[in-house]
Assembly symmetry: C2
Homo-oligomer: 177 residues x 2
């Protein structure tokens, strides 16, 4: 759909369609609906970013804690959201070798124990080798650094999910004389 | 479980168990986990209330928009959350007579058209007659009044959902000399 169609949606359809562009946080899109009409897809994205940035630090941690582990319990139980399932599969996380799976599980636990929220990364912009390497590296960061880094990844995930739902704006016509 | 058990939960179990005490807003409980340990159930409830009150007005509207209509589409399609299904059934909303159902649907649409969010009321503290009466009356309010009123109802729903999950604190022993 294009941005005009988005702007015409009643809130309940808007939340049904866009509610999971930030994983399991439909409240964010439900809040942002108040800001319509959006002049463009980037304007909708900016409204989401602004809402997230305005949350207290505990709220940002709350967003991170709504994310599943990569190659974790929800993937094995089939309880991932549709979006997460597709993203994790595309990165090869549903077909890890035994040694990779063990390493991922161990590092996920180490990360969560250290920070109190899960490792969040935009899986569609990475493959399993790159994810494992960054998980290992990011375990060494300070908590405040990781909280900000996780939120940056949330925004990348959000952007790609939005782009899969809304057509880009038509290019502006160049005026010639 | 008692409050000590609650305080010992890792965030993922905490969010799984308490994530829906505010309907479809697990981010709120995921945020509030940062504030543990809680000295009592009222302290947990107060932390939730404080987080909600700290949200911008659009965020409060977002919470309301995460709520289903009473006796609406989600009830008929079987897509209510477990908590909402039980609460709506207890108030008799799953067994409305035809005329009541039509009136409820009409008033719900009128309310949503006027305010841009759904009518929220603590169904467990009302029956279907009382709900229909208040829905009709509250359609006449100002938007800012209804936003605040809806959030007060969200807090009542939250309190009852919490009380169904956590044991009340043991009464303090009276010291006698």
């Amino acid at each position: 759909m294009d941005i005009n169609t988005v702007n015409a949606l009643p809130y309940d359809d808007f939340v049904n369609i866009f509610g999971n562009v930030v994983e399991k946080c439909p409240i964010i899109l439900a809040a942002v609906w108040s800001r319509r009409p959006f002049v463009s897809l980037p304007a909708l994205e900016a409204a989401i970013t602004e809402f997230i940035d305005g949350l207290p630090e505990s709220g940002k941690e709350g967003i991170l804690r709504c994310h599943p582990d990569l190659a974790g319990r929800d993937l094995h139980r089939g309880t991932l959201t549709r979006e997460s399932r597709e993203e994790q599969a595309r990165a090869g996380l549903d077909a890890l070798e035994s040694a990779e799976a063990s390493r991922m599980a161990r590092l996920n636990e180490e990360y969560k124990e250290r920070f109190g929220f899960p490792f969040v990364i935009c899986a569609r912009m990475n493959d399993k080798e790159s994810i494992l390497r960054q998980l290992s590296e990011r375990c060494q960061n300070e908590r405040v650094v990781e909280r900000a880094r996780g939120i940056e990844e949330v925004k990348k995930i959000c952007r790609l999910r939005l782009q899969s739902l809304v057509l880009p704006d038509a290019p502006k016509k160049v005026m010639t004389h």
